[in-house]
């Protein structure tokens, strides 16, 4: 469930002509305000930026950007970085981008950075729906004039490439049908390979990168039933390395994404992780998707609310933006 709170007075963009007209008027008003703020300097009215953008959903934000471009000849997001503090600016930028564009932006950034950014690629590939992942690939073509898989393949090697390229290229079946016999036999294959310490074996890769999420869930449940431990527990038994960590995270993302995101947030807030931008990324990418579930998981695991911890860990406009996005009261 999403945590985005859109004020009741803002109509959703829908079939009704009058509602469409109102939505358009709202976008025009928002674009004008933003233009005014920009002319005085982005840094002069962060509160207003937050109250406009943080309470608009993706369709509304797209409309605002469109109206802004038509009225003023340039993209709302251009030059944003020159004037806002880096964390706040990044949050506004990521939030305002259309979700598929955002993921394409994050993926492209990840291919240029160091190894910890393999996580970002895996996260995008595994937690988006098949349909949304394909929209990311389309947005990637449009924005970067190359394919996502070509960039990921070029910038990775060995086991990481073996895992990540098929992950970003997958177009998984999204139905709930499960083949129980297959789940049993593939659980067996996984267990065999893991016992042999063949962690990047083709069969493991095949199962994790091509099976539907429903089928994978069934397979991993059988694994647990048949072998007494969860697969991730078995994967922790060997000396740890980056590939194994990524493999376990992949499995988590495919089966329990809210747990994956909770951990990422927890480590980021406690400054234990190496992923400095995790907090901004998770909040902006999940606010419209499953933030409520993530908040529940966070509270369950940490006994304090995510809002409390974010408020304790961040400050200023950055804090206000994050809190607005995770649905904390009224920002």
């Amino acid at each position: 469930m999403a945590s985005l709170k859109v004020p009741a007075s803002v109509p959703p963009p829908h079939e009704d002509a009058e509602q469409l007209h109102k939505a358009f008027e709202d976008a025009v008003l928002a674009a004008n305000i933003l233009f005014f703020i920009r002319s005085s300097g982005w840094g002069t009215n962060e509160g207003l930026i937050i109250s406009i953008l943080a309470h608009r959903n993706a369709a509304q934000r797209n409309l605002i950007r469109q109206v802004y471009t038509e009225a003023h000849g340039q993209d709302l997001l251009k030059d944003l970085d020159k004037e806002l503090s880096s964390d706040f600016e990044r949050a506004v930028l990521l939030w305002t981008l259309d979700p598929s564009e955002r993921d394409a932006y994050l993926a492209n950034e990840a291919t240029k950075r160091l190894t910890s950014s393999n996580w970002v690629l895996m996260e995008i590939a595994c937690t988006r729906s098949s349909h949304d992942l394909f929209k990311v690939r389309q947005a990637y073509h449009a924005r970067y004039k190359k394919s996502l898989e070509e960039d990921v393949a070029y910038h990775t090697t060995g086991d990481f490439r073996k895992l990540l390229v098929p992950l970003v290229s997958a177009f998984r079946y999204e139905g709930e049908e499960v083949n129980t016999m297959l789940a049993k036999s593939e659980a067996k294959i996984l267990h065999e390979k893991i016992s042999d310490k063949a962690y990047s074996d083709e069969e493991i890769i095949r199962i994790l990168t091509t099976r539907s999420k429903a089928q994978l869930n069934a397979t991993l449940n059988h694994y647990n039933n048949a072998f007494g431990n969860s697969i991730n527990k078995n994967l922790k038994e060997d000396a740890d390395n980056d590939f194994l960590k990524l493999l376990r995270a992949t499995i988590k993302c495919l089966t329990y994404p809210e747990k994956y995101f909770e951990k990422l947030l927890r480590l980021s807030i406690k400054k234990l992780g190496t992923d400095e931008w995790a907090l901004t990324r998770v909040v902006t990418t999940r606010a419209e998707v499953d933030m409520e579930r993530i908040k529940e998981e966070y509270h369950r695991r940490n006994s304090v609310t995510l809002d409390r911890d974010i408020a304790g860990d961040t400050s200023g406009d950055y804090e206000r933006m994050l809190l607005a996005l995770i649905g904390h009261g009224d920002a």
Binding site: F134, E150, A153, Y154, G158, V165, A170, R172, T209
Partner: protein, 266 residues
């Protein structure tokens, strides 16, 4: 009084049956949406086994990115599985990695190319093919990366540089032992020549029945796409017009249907 009748020739009966089955198959394939066509062709190829894997290469490499995406969507609807999951499950040989990568591709389709990368990738391919005896190029990570992720425009530049580096056109350096790799390269770099060859082989008198199916498949799937270019290339390569060859080799309604399809643009 005895009644005589002239029994019909067994051979003729067989021919008639084959002609009708081919006609039926061609019509059914033609009636389907291109995405459904491609999805069903891949499924059939997987069931038939290694000698049909060339069809998977054909579909993955000659369709546009949007057409291949469409086939993948149709596959979900028709078979409750993803195309890559089925390909990965059914194929166990050395060609698996390449084929899974090819059906998963969503290539950039613009003109922008990277000249420097193309040059170095041509060298990578040349080396991999040269060292083919030590390590099978079809399983080489870099060969798979280049052939399954690069745009077709970029690959054209890679082939150009390959010719400069090795002296030959890339698929001439590959032989029948690397058939899947050879077909991949041909489909990506010269699809019309590839289709012409498939058509010609299909019409050979001693061809295997699977090869013969190439006639229906290529004509039906390309009639609305690039049949004009295929006809030109066929003439270039074999010195006869495709229509004439089909009229010579096929019979009855099947023949008429195929000829109608290929002359639609006249």
């Amino acid at each position: 009084m005895s009644v005589h009748f002239e029994r019909w020739n067994d051979h003729c009966v067989r021919l008639l049956k084959h002609e009708f089955v081919r006609f039926k198959n061609a019509l059914v394939l033609w009636a389907m949406h291109p995405w459904e066509r491609d999805a069903r062709l891949v499924k059939e190829a997987l069931k038939k086994g290694p000698q049909s894997y060339g069809v998977i290469v054909e579909i993955a490499c000659t369709r546009s990115s949007e057409e291949l995406l469409g086939a993948r969507k149709a596959y979900h609807s028709l078979f409750d599985q993803s195309i890559e999951e089925d390909v990965a499950t059914h194929i166990h040989g050395s060609e698996r990695k390449l084929l899974v990568a090819l059906v998963s591709a969503y290539r950039y389709e613009g003109p922008k190319v990277k000249e420097d990368a193309a040059k170095s990738e041509a060298k990578i391919l040349a080396n991999a093919i040269k060292n083919g005896l030590k390590k099978n190029p079809i399983e080489d990570e870099e060969v798979i990366r280049i052939l399954s992720t690069r745009s077709k425009a970029h690959l054209k530049i890679v082939y150009k540089h390959y010719k400069e580096v090795s002296g030959n056109i890339i698929h001439e350096d590959l032989d029948v032992s690397d058939l899947i790799l050879k077909e991949t390269v041909e489909c990506l770099c010269s699809p019309h020549a590839y289709f012409s060859k498939v058509l010609d082989e299909a019409m050979g008198s001693d061809s295997h029945k699977n090869t013969k199916k190439g006639l229906t498949r290529v004509i039906v799937t390309r009639a609305d796409v690039d049949m004009k270019e295929i006809k030109e290339e066929y003439m270039n390569l074999f010195g006869v017009s495709l229509s004439k060859k089909i009229e010579e080799k096929a019979n009855g309604n099947y023949r008429d249907f195929l000829v109608t399809l290929i002359t639609r643009d006249n």
